[in-house]
């Protein structure tokens, strides 16, 4: 293989480093450049993905200007538009022709824009594609208004007048009057929400418990005729609840009447006049009239709404608070399970088990469980936790609820346990690594001073390994927060009516289903009836999830790097 003559490729490289193409190829440089390109592409992809989600997600909250224009495809009467322009792309004429548009020149390139027309109740869809070349008479009227509605998406139009407490206000004061009335309506709506969700919800919950108590008495063999006292007590409590309900209901009716007091008259761009009660509106803004500072303020307000509000309209509008709440709660419950057990297993493997082929095999097996598809853990969770364990619990402790399952149905406890199993290998491996890095000399010093093994572990080894455990836990949390496939089987739902924590005893409801950011992305992006409207929201949710996970991972990586340096110093 080695010739006595000097390596010609290397000679070319060193002697004349501005040699020809031949020497460039021979030196192997093209291959090196190719490998460099591979890693460059990987990095670009990562950065591009992050930027894409960030830009698309955050742009959603920006109050886009309303474009007023006429749209005149060839051979059609011009129609007025009042739209937000969402995106635009170049399309070949041939493709547009295939889509059925009256294209005159299929050879030419056109710009196709996706615009939000709003007024879904009037036009049937929020969004439509338009060909930019056919848009004319562009203007950005300052009084063009976007209203966010409780139902049917946004309304685009112009405010004609506001009817407030029986008085009709038209002209320039109408806008101010409307804003004032809207604030009042939103406050009323919040009060109604509080009554409906919290107070009436609590009464319903207590009613249901009364029903179950009664059923339990019946199952225990008691009858109404014989055990009058027991049943009478139940009836009395029920009557009290009914009374409370009647009061709340009266209050609610009063609030609804107050809410329905005001309305506004709106003209849409195609000259339809609508009367919209304020009860149906959430907010209104005139984007063309806002300056940059106002827009930034608006943007922050929208972002806050997004993270703190309940979803509306089949999750395609409103916020994602329940999903954030569910994700966080699930991760916390999971951490409570996974931390002690992961550490125990690592301690066993590293400190107590005899190091031999069996321990090595177990270690490899545990390691490999991290590579087992997560959906398999989901199946296990569904079959074992939900149907087997949960079903048994129901039979033993909740016979009165039958046939409705309590724990024998997917819920947050089972989801947390499933993810705990899934992330167990992560914690074990990280903790073990931390334990292995602690120099033997430190352990021996402790033992030599007369400490028992448990004391050595508790006072010396574990404190030193704690950053490693922290790393493991953070990585486990990051993995759990992003994991979706197994959760689809063990407890995540599209829309959970109640949070798993509320004011009703026992406050933490382990058996409830919950919402989750990852599943929210899947569900809204792929199962939603109005994908165009939902898409920016999904980007925003994705961005939030990415931020959480990136922060967690950066934390874990930083702790790990510090740790390594720390031990290097110890070993020296």
């Amino acid at each position: 293989m080695h010739s006595p003559t000097p390596n010609p490729a290397a000679a070319d490289l060193t002697v004349r480093d501005t040699g020809g193409v031949r020497s460039y190829v021979k030196s192997g440089q093209p291959y090196v450049w190719t490998t460099a390109a591979a890693i460059a592409v990987s990095v670009i992809i990562t950065v591009a993905l992050l930027v894409l989600t960030a830009v698309r997600g955050m742009a959603h909250f920006w109050p886009a200007d309303l474009l007023q224009a006429t749209y005149a495809p060839p051979g059609e009467a011009p129609a007025p538009l009042l739209v937000e322009v969402r995106s635009a792309e170049e399309v070949t004429g041939a493709r547009l022709q295939t889509a059925g548009l009256p294209i005159e020149d299929p050879e030419a390139l056109y710009t196709r824009a996706l615009v939000k027309v709003g007024n879904r109740d009037l036009y049937g869809a929020d969004f439509r594609y338009v060909v930019e070349e056919w848009i004319g008479d562009r203007s950005w009227p300052e009084d063009a208004t976007v209203w966010e509605r409780v139902e049917w998406g946004n309304l685009h139009g112009f405010l004609l007048s506001a009817s407030i407490d029986g008085r009709t206000i038209a002209g320039p004061q109408a806008w101010t009057a409307y804003r004032e009335a809207q604030r009042r309506a939103n406050e009323l709506r919040e009060q109604i929400d509080a009554i409906e969700r919290d107070e009436i919800g609590a009464i319903n919950y207590r009613m249901e418990r009364l029903r179950l108590e009664e059923r339990r008495l019946e199952l225990d063999g008691l009858t109404r005729a014989q055990d009058t006292a027991a049943f009478a007590a139940l009836d009395a409590r029920r009557a009290a609840l009914d009374g409370e309900y009647a009061e709340l209901n009266a209050e609610r009716t009063r609030l609804y009447e107050a809410l329905n007091r005001d309305s506004i008259a709106v003209r849409t761009i195609d000259a339809r006049e609508l009367t919209v009660p304020l009860a149906k509106l959430v907010a209104g803004w005139q984007p063309n009239d806002m300056n940059l500072l106002q827009k930034i303020g608006f943007w922050f307000g929208k972002v806050w709404e997004f993270v703190s509000d309940e979803p509306r309209e089949a999750n395609t509008e409103g916020g994602i608070f329940p999903a954030i709440f569910g994700t966080v709660l699930m991760v916390i419950i999971m951490s409570i399970f996974v931390t002690p057990f992961g550490i125990l297993a690592a301690l066993y493997l590293r400190e107590y088990a005899k190091q031999g082929p069996v321990t090595r095999a177990i270690r490899i097996a545990v390691n490999n469980l991290a590579g087992v598809p997560s959906i398999v853990f989901g199946m296990f969770g569904l079959g074992f936790f939900v149907y087997f364990v949960g079903g048994s619990i129901d039979r033993l402790f909740f016979p009165e609820a039958a046939p409705a399952p309590v724990f024998g149905t997917p819920g947050i406890l089972w989801a947390s346990l499933t993810l705990a199993l899934l992330t167990l290998p992560v914690v074990i491996v990280a903790t073990e690594e931390g334990l292995a890095r602690i120099p033997r000399s430190i352990r021996e010093a402790s033992l030599a001073l007369g400490a028992t093994k448990a004391e050595t572990l508790w006072r010396v080894v574990l404190p030193m390994a704690s950053p490693a455990m922290m790393t493991g836990l953070i990585l486990a949390i990051a993995r759990a927060a992003g994991e979706t496939a197994p959760l689809m089987l063990v407890g995540v739902v599209k829309l959970a009516p109640n949070l798993p924590i509320d004011g009703n005893f026992p406050f933490l409801h382990f058996e409830r289903k919950f919402m989750h950011l990852g599943f929210h992305i899947y569900d809204v992006g792929f199962q939603s009836p109005n994908v165009e409207a939902a898409r920016p929201l999904v980007y925003a949710t994705s961005f939030l999830l990415v931020v959480v996970i990136v922060v967690l991972n950066v934390a874990a990586i930083t702790i790990r790097n510090r740790l390594r340096e720390h031990y290097k110093a110890l070993e020296d």
Binding site: N7, A37, V41, V43, L347, N368, M379, A454, W458, G482
Partner: protein, 752 residues
């Protein structure tokens, strides 16, 4: 932790002996801690093992063989007339027997006691024949000796007096208890069907003609049906009409000649029945029945073979009667009775010697064969839930069997082979697991799902392996340390990206983008690899003064703007190029000229998205393997005058190749099990098409889609668990192999 210190720490009693109480407490704590760790640690490992055991326990029942368990034997209760019809109710507790004299006897299936007996109204002339009209509704049609036809129903009411379940049989007359005029005298082989507001009665008369009579049903406001006499059709078939079978949807009629073994296959329409063809069975026919679902018929032959037939389409779209498969009892004795299950494609055949065999049609499988009787079998009847089989011998002895046959649908062929399903024109690989009614034939072929899994993994690896390994080579071998410190965490971040986000971007951003910019994608694939060496060459041409300013190992950073520019250029050029070369629409052009169909969510999109998900896995492990190649090896090679590239190819890569191999294996394991990306970026259509532009469905996505709706304990449920187990074992095996290889490699490095 070495042996010595461990021995010291877990001190024997001798050390503790005579020490103060505090010391004892410390050692007690020590041993408690030891126990906790032991129990906790082993418990965790046990829990992880439990996953495997549990999956296995859900799968194993699939492969349990069926068995029958004798319940009782007694002489058929009731009058000693000939039996024309038997049935049993849902729970398998009450039996029904109809005699030729018109006696309707309900009896207990445990002890044979008669529960109630009555005579069917208007049965003075005796009963010539009886046929099931609706198995679910318990409707039975009978032809009296005078040729008229009547329909009765036997249903069962459940009540719970004193918390005891009591089943009460109820006889009803859904079409009135007045017999319907049909023929002048009794015929043979009665069939009655009710469909689309009509009741159609057919039978063969004494002359061998087939008579078809139609009654139009008029439903009144109160739900009672009144019948109006409709058209009567009579025709002479080319074969002896011994057995008639009428399709429940009234499109097809089979006239079967027992002795000649021929089937005349008719298409029914508004006008005269049209003879499609006459088919030879091959041997004399003993009996023929419709299977559940009303599409297939099974024909019992004298030579011990049961053949399954159904209408299929030939190449020109015309219908013909296909003999789909044959089943052998294996005894060779002539078959004397057939019994079909109501809700599955299972049927039983009894022969002259009293043997009974159970078959599943779709699975093409004999489930079991047992000698149940000592005399020829005359009747075989399942109860609706198919847990109870009634076998009645020629001597009138009834023997009841509890049947344990949970998963007859599973056979090697049904799971992996091509199966000729009902209503298809040829055998196929199909997965269609669920349907609203039991008439649907479930199709459980795992082949398209496994194919989809491997296809997705293959395209993902095609995208990921070059990028990841080349990237790892550069990072480990050529990259400047400072840059490496920035790049490695970035790639780790890439690994942490939730797959649901990758899937969402793939499905809702990448898929439409690729669809709109397909030429750009291909242009990038061609131009990008070409432009890189050129950029390198251009760099080597730049003046030394500029070149020396950039330290070595920053090539990747310098290439980033180049790559972005090239990609931008490719996509900017894509649209004009598409207009120029492909008439403005590449998909339409491909479809027209190459015959390649295009799905928006296809293997290309999945390959890229899942490739992105696996790149970091492969990259990290491969980088680790290359980076840990002992430095003295490469330094020695460089000192001998090899170029860096020569050193890499001849020294470093051969040493690190087992590590790279294990990186690819682990990446493959991840690609195979990945769920969310394939769920969102493919159309989830279980097609078997290797095309880059077609969708697919993987095992994991299939689990995610179907698991929540699957009935616990059903064959479908267990098959999904089997898919899960296969995934588990596959990835576990791959990972273990990779892990072992890596450990070996680490030892090898340590010794160099």
């Amino acid at each position: 932790m070495n042996e010595q210190s461990a021995a010291l720490a877990t001190a024997p009693d001798s050390i503790v002996a005579g020490k103060a109480a505090g010391v004892r407490a410390r050692y007690l704590k020590d041993s408690i801690a030891r126990w906790i760790v032991w129990i906790g640690g082993l418990g965790v490992i046990g829990a992880l093992l439990l996953i495997f055991v549990y999956l296995l326990s859900e799968v194993l029942p699939l492969f349990q063989s069926a068995d029958v368990e004798a319940r009782q034997q007694f002489q058929l209760p009731g009058p000693a007339a000939q039996t024309v019809y038997v049935a049993s109710e849902e729970q398998g507790e009450i039996g029904l027997r109809l005699t030729a004299a018109g006696d309707l006897v309900f009896f207990d299936l445990y002890d044979g006691a008669v529960l109630s007996a009555r005579r069917l109204p208007h049965s003075e002339a005796g009963i010539a024949d009886a046929a099931t009209l609706s198995a679910e509704g318990g409707e039975v049609a009978v032809q009296f000796g005078d040729g008229r036809v009547s329909v009765f129903s036997h249903t069962y009411e459940l009540s719970y007096p004193n918390d005891q379940r009591v089943i009460t049989p109820v006889i009803g007359y859904p079409y009135g208890d007045e017999p319907l005029p049909f023929m002048e005298q009794a015929g043979r082989s009665l069939v009655v069907r009710a469909e689309r507001g009509a009741l159609v009665i057919a039978a063969a008369d004494r002359n061998g003609d087939v008579v078809l009579k139609r009654y139009e049903m008029q439903e009144s406001l109160f739900g009672d049906a009144t019948l109006e006499e409709g058209a009567l059709l009579r025709f002479t078939p080319p074969v002896r009409a011994d057995i008639l079978l009428l399709e429940p949807l009234l499109s097809w009629l089979y006239v079967i000649d027992r002795e000649a073994g021929r089937i005349a296959f008719y298409r029914l329409g508004e006008a005269e029945p049209e003879l499609v063809d006459v088919y030879e069975v091959g041997s004399p026919v003993r009996d023929a029945r419709y299977l559940s679902g009303g599409i297939s018929i099974v024909v019992a032959q004298a030579d011990g073979v049961i053949s399954q037939w159904f209408p299929a389409r030939d190449g020109d779209g015309g219908h013909y009667l296909a003999r789909v498969r044959g089943f052998e009892t294996g005894t060779g004795a002539p078959i004397t009775a057939l019994g079909v299950e109501q809700r599955r494609r299972v049927f039983a055949a009894g022969d002259e010697n009293g043997n009974v065999a159970l078959f599943h049609a779709t699975a093409d499988r004999r489930i079991l064969r047992e000698k149940l009787l000592d005399e020829p079998v005359e009747f075989l009847s399942f109860n609706p839930r198919a847990q109870y089989l009634m076998a009645i011998g020629a001597d009138g002895q009834l023997r009841g069997y509890d049947v344990h046959n949970e998963h007859p649908e599973v056979s090697l062929k049904a799971l992996w082979g091509r199966v000729w399903y009902e209503s298809y024109d040829k055998p196929r690989f199909l997965w269609q697991s669920s349907a609203a009614t039991s008439d649907f034939e479930p199709k459980f072929s795992l082949t398209p799902l496994s194919f989809g899994t491997l296809k997705a993994a293959f395209y993902a690896m095609l995208f990921a392996v070059p990028l990841a390994i080349l990237g790892a080579i550069f990072t480990a071998n050529f990259m400047a340390p400072q840059m490496r410190q920035a790049v490695k965490p970035t790639v780790e971040l890439m690994e942490a990206l939730p797959t649901v986000i990758l899937g969402f971007l793939a499905g809702l951003w990448l898929a439409p983008f690729v669809e709109a910019n397909l030429p750009g994608v291909f242009l990038t694939l061609i131009l990008l690899p070409l432009s890189i060496p050129l950029a390198g060459f251009a760099w080597s041409r730049t003046p030394r003064a500029i070149r020396l300013r950039v330290p070595e190992g920053w090539e990747a950073a310098m290439l980033m703007p180049v790559i972005v520019a090239v990609v931008w250029f490719c996509f900017a050029l894509a649209k004009p190029l598409e207009t120029l070369l492909f008439g403005g629409n590449m998909q339409a052009w491909m479809d027209r000229t190459l015959g390649i169909g295009y799905d928006q969510r296809n293997a290309l999109v999945v390959g890229i998205a899942m490739g992105i998900a696996v790149i970091p896995t492969i990259y990290s492990i491969a980088e680790d393997a290359i980076f840990s190649v002992p430095k003295q090896l490469s330094l020695g090679s460089l000192a001998l005058g090899a170029t860096p590239w020569q050193t890499l190819v001849r020294v470093v890569l051969p040493t690190a190749s087992p590590g790279i191999f294990s990186a690819v294996m682990i990446g493959m394991g991840r690609a195979v099990g990945e769920t969310m990306i394939v769920l969102m970026a493919t159309g989830n259509t279980p097609v078997m098409d290797p095309s880059l532009f077609q969708g697919l469905r993987t095992l994991s996505a299939n689990i995610a889609v179907e698991m929540p709706e699957s009935e616990v304990g059903s064959t479908h449920f267990r098959l999904l668990f089997m898919a899960g187990l296969v995934l588990f074992l596959f990835t576990f095996l791959f990972n273990t192999l990779a892990e072992t290889v890596r450990q070996r490699l680490r030892q090898k490095y340590a010794t160099i």
